[in-house]
């Protein structure tokens, strides 16, 4: 068992304050979603989910066509599309851009894709300050951390911790009131917006037929980041594409509600191309950077392709009983929660953290709330099978492999299975007066460390059944 993930989990579980904050914050989002999609609010919720799934399926199965259509539409409006195979390609594009244009300051609106390719670090190496402008991202950038949750990056921070951070890093008088903390961030960020030459955003959707980048947000920082600086670069995974603007009727109905319970976010921006002659605002240069970074490999896998349907609403994280205990930092990679558990192994390889697909009770709550109906438990099961197949190819005879081989043999030999059961019931210490066992040796220790184990039944069901039948 790789120690890294278990170590981080252990730390998270011991942090009493974090446990309370995490369970409460995810619970609030979970309940907001529940009321947002309730029949009274959105009567055709289930039909919308089916529809969203079908649009995504269609788009992924025709991705080559839509990517080329998008490219020709963006370029027809005077923008440029940059195709990037991996993080290295993205870094190279930005390095050249900032060098050629003499850029020292960039403002960024929230983008998990930029986290995935560690863009801030690359910009820093190129001598560019990349200022995060989403409030949550601003907080974690000050703290020198990574996003904790794909929608709520600073979910794990209390306002007292933010007060400490602002006091230490910004040298301002201590302020614990959330509204005033927001005003502090706004004060700092306004200057950045005005001074920056480059605005970097992600994209919630890329519309193939029109070449528009669609961004949803609540703070207005994405709108400022994409319109105030003279250059705008939108960085997006290739799976963000949808065929038509009309499809947004489906996706926008689902995204805000699934994420925060909002029927619509405060801002929905449609950005298509640079400023045209006669227009008064908008950037002079407009780029769409399309990132593969393992996505086309996922696309090639028929069984797991639907991983790419994700619209990053975070609903699966908020309802996941495992995420609600272990939190965002226990997961390896950029994406946490159930979607991270299926995305990360496919992006970074199974060997990166082979335990990850097993870190789930397979309760299925994630699939139930997914707005695009990704069958996350099914994909987890596929990944588990892939991990075990790889072990077998490497001829690694783990205790688990030997155990399951023996088990499978025993389960096909009912007589021996019965004898083994009887033997086990003798071998296990019987509890006094039917009391449950507090401590067991060997592999069952991992059970009794956290709960009691049933005492072996004196006689199995089949033995009792025989006795009952012979009594007539």
């Amino acid at each position: 068992m790789p120690a890294a993930m278990h170590g981080r989990i252990h730390e998270a579980l011991l942090d009493e304050r974090l446990q309370q904050a995490l369970y409460a914050a995810t619970g609030r989002l979970m309940h907001k979603r529940q009321s947002g999609v309730a029949a009274g609010q959105l009567p055709d919720y289930q039909e919308l989910r089916d529809h969203a799934h079908l649009i995504k399926r269609h788009t992924m199965e025709n991705l080559d066509y839509y990517l080329e259509l998008l490219t020709s539409r963006v370029e027809g409006r005077g923008g440029r599309v940059v195709w990037c195979r991996d993080a290295g390609d993205v870094h190279a594009f930005f390095e050249q851009l900032v060098r050629d244009r003499g850029i020292r300051l960039a403002v960024k609106s929230k983008s998990m894709t930029s986290e995935e390719v560690e863009l801030n670090e690359a910009l820093d190496r190129a001598g560019v300050e990349a200022a995060e402008t989403d409030l949550g991202e601003f907080i974690i950038q000050l703290a020198g951390e990574k996003p904790y949750h794909i929608v709520a990056p600073a979910m794990h921070k209390t306002r007292q911790q933010v007060a400490d951070l602002f006091e230490q890093k910004l040298g301002l008088p201590r302020e614990e009131e959330i509204e005033k903390q927001t005003m502090i961030a706004r004060g700092v960020l306004r200057k950045k917006f005005l001074e920056a030459d480059l605005g970097i955003s992600g994209a919630n959707f890329l519309i193939a037929e029109s070449g528009a980048v669609v961004i949803v947000e609540n703070e207005g920082n994405a709108r400022l980041s994409t319109s105030a600086p003279r250059i705008h670069v939108a960085l997006a995974g290739i799976e963000k594409i949808i065929p038509r603007a009309a499809d947004l009727a489906v996706f926008l109905s689902l995204l805000g509600r699934s994420a925060t319970g909002q029927p619509l976010t405060s801002y929905t921006s449609f950005l298509s191309g640079p400023r045209r002659p006669g227009e008064r605002d908008g950037p002079e240069e407009f780029y769409v950077v399309l990132l593969d970074n393992g996505r086309s490999r996922i696309l090639a896998d028929r069984d797991k392709r639907q991983t790419l349907y994700c619209i990053r609403c975070g609903a699966c994280l908020n309802i996941c009983p495992v995420f609600r205990k272990i939190g965002g930092y226990s997961y390896p990679g950029t994406y946490s929660g159930p979607i991270g558990a299926i995305l990360t192994p496919q992006m970074l390889g199974l060997g990166h953290e082979p335990a990850l697909p097993f870190a789930s009770s397979l309760c299925g709550a994630c699939a139930e709330v997914c707005p695009v109906k990704i069958d996350i438990p099914k994909i987890l099961l596929e990944l588990r099978s892939d991990v075990k197949k790889a072990e077998r190819r490497e001829r690694r005879w783990t205790a688990e492999r030997i155990g399951f081989a023996l088990w499978a043999w025993l389960m096909r030999h009912p007589r021996l299975y019965e004898m083994a059961g009887a033997a086990a019931s003798v071998a296990l210490p019987a509890g006094r007066d039917g009391a449950w066992l507090r401590a067991l040796p060997g592999p069952l220790q991992a059970w009794t460390e956290f709960r009691d184990f049933p005492p072996p039944a004196a006689r199995s069901f089949r033995q009792l059944w025989r006795a009952r039948r012979s009594r007539g």
């Binding site: 068992m1 709550a365 088990w407 991992a446 956290f450």
Partner: protein
Amino acid sequence: MPTKVSLFVTCLVDQLFPRVGLAMADVVERLGYAVDFPEAQTCCGQPAFNSGFRGEARLVARHFLDVFAGADCIVCPSGSCASMVRHHYAELFQKDAAARAAAEAVAPRVWEFSEFLTEVARREDVGARFDGVVTYHDPCHALREMKIREQPRRLLRAVRGLELREMDIAEECCGFGGTFSVKFGEVSGAMLSTKIESIRRTGAGAVVSSDPSCLMQIRGGLSRAGLEVRALHLAEVLAGL
């Protein structure tokens, strides 16, 4: 309408909770069915399937299909094991047409216990009596894969003397998850604590569920916490006269 019921008691009930199997047999017999227990049965194969060992799962699933090939109506005290047979066998045998056909033939004939009572036998009142307040825990696979939510509650409400008092997080996982419970024992334990706390808040004298594996986890937690709350399978409650 079938007149004969074949019990699939599951390996967990056979080895650790035989009373649950007997209680289930009692209730089914009381409704007038002839009950039989195919003795060659062992496990549905889910432990291996969920752990990534599909080859081993296939071997055990094939054994199940052989044992229950002639059964008209199979009743099982676990939504998780029933779901394995009904939903996952076909997936397991994608590349084996014969086994897949056998799996598809058996799928519509396997029933989870509460589902069998309410949808096949069409009974809610099975003549049971239980004095006290109980709360019901939804097993994840029964709830989300088998869509069993109201069936056990309807059965419980029909029990004389029983008051059903819902907990605030009835549908939240208890943390069992098969080998997850030992591979990630600490997380499983933390999930269990949250569940136990919710059960305790109801003030119920017993928590009832319809899956022996959830009950093993929950009762293990109740016992460790030293709480006087009982953990019972739905069949045990319904068998009480």
